[in-house]
Symmetry: D2
Subunit: 486 residues, 4 copies
């Protein structure tokens, strides 16, 4: 069961029997035909198809150590810089297909799972079984090309309840242990792409701390199929549309976010990676170098998106006949400079990596964290520029159907550009609207701002990365003759 | 036929037989039942209803000089500061009903028409008939409480074609004069609320200039009923929704923008305000003090919107339990300071007005222009704050129907706030989403940025308002002993 | 002994025998001849001279209720709006002389003392003697036109020491009570203009709190002559210069900041306004409406400075031949808009005032606080614009002496402007340098940012001013149907 | 005559007989003892001393191809990436000595000369003599370790005069050709470090264009000793001071800027690199890859300065006891992220270079230009943070002499920090003042903003570097199905 193709992806998604709710109603029937999901599924099917093309075999897959079959490169633990760059090139192929609009392209969770897998040893201290479960699960996903989503974050209400009344707490927790497995209840926010994946990795920050040696029911990790009994997915409002003319982006790239509720879900023992030991959560992330590996995946997405937006800004300015104005040039060059930053940061991460004890090559964290700090502002600024260049043309755009109505001639005459037919011109501004004014862009913007930790979390991560700080401070002290012991 | 009530408003709108197109299809049937229009029509009907309430008679209407019947206060040419303040209080009542989200609340065009009316004398130089037509039309609108939209701006393509080939030019122009009237062809962008009004005032910037003494076919002004033969309205995508829980704002305040195409429309002579004399366009705006009167209307809307958003920001912060954090306080006080600015600028405009030759009291322009320059940034910043405070809660919100489904209990448990039931909490964030992430807010933001002139236009208007500049410069020169003749 | 003139001001300053230190040396000899003080003293002498001009008598002074002689208008407790406006016009005359560069123009402390005087009643609860001392002192200052500085803030180290070891604490405190008076020790930062004033008002925030009923030695207020035994003034580096060509601003407007050390200073009993009761500090400020009165003084200074800088920006742009460029206009209009804000906020404060129980008219606080929040950013932005317009011309400017050297001809040829002689051009950029690059502007900028409370303090003051917040929030709740009891 | 040491540098500078003017007076006597120059000369002498230390021989010099003696590494034309990195490490040693405050550290002009030298071939088309002159001059500077300044920019007045009256034009030009050389007159702005160098390279943008084939007297390039007859240097105001306690930065790093006037200077023929051919100016810069080589030098200076300021910000925050506050961390991490950018951009430039036809390895231009676009804002922001953290402590700092006066004890008690003696604390804030408030920092800030081209020039340079733009635009067009021929 090697890498899957597009048809296999669709079949597996359709085969699931999810407890999936949209606008108060249970979603039945094949997801690949549902308006909220079909565009994305088609896009991801095309991506899975790409990895099966013979010409891309070397670029996108490698031979499974277990089966010898081709498996996805995003599962590969990099043994050296070349492996890391190979991984990145694979991600680039997909990112340049979705132009960075898929925050949860399947390679994201493949990368995450790979990173935890490389740290399985930390689980051995608690139980060799845990470590083996994680390793087995990684191999299972890799060799079956499982599409994964994840649940890391809990609703605000879960955080207000603590260990004092663990029974009453709303925090997600293991509430029972049975011979067949662990019983879990709780709710998670923002399983992006939940319904369009096959399984879900649940790895929450423990909601409360109990101190060393005590069993913490809110500390656990596991992975299960999406349609296990007791799992319910509740959707937010969909921003997807069908027409690729009227909605060039949301017809293709709209990822659904879901709230996932676990109501006495029985998790089989072999799918449990740990339970009760609260320190293991941090250790998995630290020893697995999750932020470095995920950051390396994400920066390639940032670059693809920035390039697409750079192209869009230039196209819009040409359409508005303002591309040679100083006010435009002085703005777009800031984006160009930021693109140079991102590319350089990726290079620095790739060439400045280090080897772990487990024999993996880990990209340098500081440049990737720097990218993570800066991209949300860049993204917001690029959307602002889309609005600024488009001006009132952002808003007043007819539909494709209008061009097929009896108003066709008028529209073609009055809405033509300097050198572009009206229909070519209007689709460009419809795309601009989706990003700069519409819900698709609004959700993208919020996603970029908050999906990899809020500002405070990322700031602390960056502060912790700056290894030279003491040295820099000592230069100041040296200059002013201040004894450093003081 | 005095001020109309809500029912009359609806009847008149439904009675029209517009050439109205949405997504390639002709819209038939009563607009008040069409999903793209019904929410707004209901809101405006309620507003018209308010002006007919006996208790508001003095606050919202005055006796028509022609009929003695009560007519809308927004038609009143202010004879003194008290009148101006009376007008403002009327606008405040409506603005606090729509919270500033209606950029084209009917009092906007009533004010515009009043301003042009006060300048009717400038038309007499061309023709006493023109002046009389304008005066008659104003009285007609006032005494029948006509709801007006307007067409001022033409598509980009219209601007590229000049007088050299006036025949071929795409610019809107009078193409024929007949005994019954003038025949006009051309296209206009952004007739906001076009379909939900009764008539349209057409007063475009002349697309080209021909020089003194020549007849300029692109210079004209007139007003006609919306459903005159040859007028076609084409809609942009609607952002309206029906549920006031799921979409608290767009279910009420979504104004449609339309492109209006005039295809050989016969405008009766008594509806023509001028034709051919290009200088009259500027004179109407200047002598009518359009920007001062419109600016005075708009600043009240700005204030209502800022107050609403201030309340929203505080409510969101309380819901997120961050309302006492420094990072929040330091942000919201900037909005509070800006609100003080806006209120003070309105006061300065009202108390610093001047009398025109025609006996009208005109508010001071500079403070109002200052408000116009600053509000777009304030608006964008407030939306940014909505996003920042809401964080990921902006995105992941279920529908009202979900609270009525079998998931009700889970949602009520997991989505509750510190002191708010889940359903109360979620509707607040749904509203936040509409403003900070959704299409409703995206369009509002672009509207605020561009609806009263683009940045460059407004900048020049402000620069022209700064009467003290030479005096301030002379203070610098005086200090450095520089002869002012130099 | 009525208002003093310039000569009297100089004589009194020179007559003092201060313990004044500059760069490790005791300053002896007349201050009016010392390079660090003479420019400012000359400027202030001219200001005092102005108030004695017969033509300005009504504008700048009033008849003392005690003596009938003319005393300074900034001492007048306003009984109504007209008085407030009269006060403001007086301040405007001085502010337009120093263009807002004097943060501690004498009317500032006159205003402060007036505000505390109107609250003398609050001291009566502690002692009628305290109240009488304050009233007497106010009358003394008013009738003798005393120039005052003040000491409100203590060094950081003083704040770390608390009541636990009041003996050891570094906080300023009353350390002994003697028949002749109270003995005080401690240090204060930033007595701006300390040496160029006659007396100093000491009114520190109590460094620690001891709770009701206990005597707090760090709570006290008094005023004494500058040259009382035990008072030492230590200067920061002076930024003053002598040549009005080379340094048009710092040759006139450089105010010295000093650290003041009280070493067992004996304060006569009749100069003590309170001792030991920690709550009186807040009460004096609150009941005296210090922030409203001081804010009303300051906003006039803000306006004068903004006008001067607006004139400078325009003059610089004309000199650089960039005054018609969009990039310039789009920047300067933001300053123009802010100037409109400031003027409108002052108007709102003046017309929206309230009467106190003591029969004084107090300007509205919210608009003035809004000005205080916004001006530091405006100021920094204006300096940035000075730099941006001046470009490299900010830096490379010869001295006046160079124009008198054998290089005169070359300089006149090569440094001429489009329509300005080189010498006229260079002095303008020398002034620009002083503001945008030099120490004078650097100190002005920091002063504007921090002199009226740091950002956090001002933010909290603004937040407390926003009386409508609950009402605005209730509008949101009303719209979403949320019960306000919840 | 190999690399020179500190003593040799001082001797050579002192030996010159410059026409140097400061504040209208001719500067005589040794520059190394003049208060405006001695601090900098001491700093640069120490830098020259470093390169002569045996332990740094390999790091800072190489064997001259002509003489075999050790010459400065900044003269080395890099044959490959290793050479480029070697050059950079040399620059790092100096930059970490002057912490990036020397914008015209000698290696800057060494690098510039090297870059022009590698393009000498372009001069051969005009004259083999020109090419040979440039090569000889490069070798002369390299083998004698000549300290160079440069003159590229002319006063504004020079630009207003054109070829129409070349005789009368103020533009610098060759006004006569004599057997001994060319006679040049004109003025140049901003020869930074002019007096502290030995020679000056004059390479101005031609002030006017005359068209192909015509002799353009404003097009020329040459280099001469500073004290050639007819050359006059006029200084701006010095910001240098002597005490390293009171002025830790300006006592060491203040570079003088000068205006240089050429009055009928006779330039020997063998020092002329071209005359009359206007296109050669651009070609020298292009073929010499000046912006790439200079940019590679500069980015190392940026990094050194950013590191120093990062250390300063941290030191200040610790001193203020605010280093763990969110508001501080969220600010400083932005600087940390920018430092990562700069380091990564340098890496990208070094590893992404290309070989020229002349066999040189040129760093990639785009990453370096990106750094140049971003650093001025970063620099201004870092100075703003210095002010923000220091608050009022930026201003009120006594002198070192005050600590030696009778006020010593008071100062030590009241100005002590939490864990720092007062004197250690105050010097830190004095340094902060020099950067954040004083003239030294003001000039640094303006220098960073304008010394490598104004904003518009750099923006166009960046726009020209973005090679992928068409490709990115085509991705957008591909997505919307727009034919690219359209």
């Amino acid at each position: 069961m090697p890498i899957k193709n597009g048809m296999q992806y669709i079949e597996r998604i359709n085969r699931q029997r999810l407890q999936l709710w949209y606008n108060g109603e249970r979603v039945n029937g094949p997801l690949s035909e549902h308006p909220a999901f079909r565009g994305l599924i088609r896009t991801q099917a095309a991506m899975y198809e790409m990895q099966c093309e013979a010409s891309r075999s070397e670029d996108m897959s490698y031979a499974s150590p277990a089966t010898g079959e081709r498996v996805g490169l995003s599962f590969l633990p990099p043994a050296n810089a070349e492996d890391l760059i190979r991984r990145r090139k694979m991600s680039e192929i997909w990112a340049n297909y979705h132009h960075g609009f898929l925050g949860r392209s399947p390679d994201y969770m493949n990368t995450a799972l790979m990173s935890f897998y490389t740290a399985a040893t930390v689980l051995e201290k608690a139980s060799t079984e845990y470590a083996q479960n994680l390793r087995n699960y990684y191999e299972y996903c890799r060799d079956h090309d499982i599409t994964l989503s994840h649940a890391f974050v809990q609703p605000m209400a879960s955080k207000w309840s603590g260990p004092a009344d663990a029974e009453e707490s709303l925090a997600a927790k293991v509430i029972e242990t049975r011979p067949e497995g662990r019983v879990v209840s709780g709710a998670f926010l923002m399983a992006t792409q939940g319904p369009t994946c096959e399984e879900i990795l649940v790895l929450p920050t423990p909601s409360f701390m109990m101190g060393d040696g005590q069993v913490n029911p809110s500390a656990f990790a596991f992975a299960v199929p999406n349609d296990l009994e007791g799992i319910t997915f509740i959707c937010r409002e969909s921003h997807a549309h069908d027409s690729s003319y009227d909605h060039p982006l949301s017809s293709r790239y709209e990822e659904m976010d879901t709230m996932v509720i676990f109501d006495r879900v029985l998790v089989p023992h072999d799918r449990v990676f740990f339970v009760g030991e609260e320190r293991l959560y941090d250790q998995l992330f630290q020893e697995g170098h999750f932020h470095a590996y995920a950051g390396h995946h994400i920066i390639t997405r940032y670059i693809a998106k920035t390039e697409f937006l750079l192209g869009l800004l230039q196209a819009l300015a040409e359409e508005q006949n303002t591309d040679t104005e100083n006010s435009f040039v002085s703005q777009i060059v800031k984006v160009m400079a930021m693109l140079e930053n991102l590319k350089a940061l990726r290079l620095a991460a790739e060439t400045g990596g280090t080897m772990t004890e487990s024999g993996c090559y880990v990209p340098a964290l500081a440049p990737l964290t720097a990218a993570g700090i800066q991209f949300p502002d860049l993204h917001e600024e690029m959307l602002r520029m889309v609005r600024s260049i488009s001006a009132s043309q952002l808003i007043m755009n007819p539909f494709e159907a209008d061009f097929n109505s009896e108003n066709q001639t008028s529209l073609e005459v009055y809405l033509q550009g300097l050198s572009s037919p009206a229909k070519d011109r209007i689709i460009l501004f419809r795309l601009a609207w989706e990003l700069g004014g519409g819900a698709f862009g609004g959700r993208q913007n919020q996603f970029e701002r908050f999906f990899f930790g809020n500002g405070k979390t990322i700031a602390n991560r960056m502060y912790g990365c700056c290894e030279g700080l003491d040295e820099y401070k000592s230069r100041v002290y040296h200059l002013i003759g201040r004894d450093e012991q003081s």
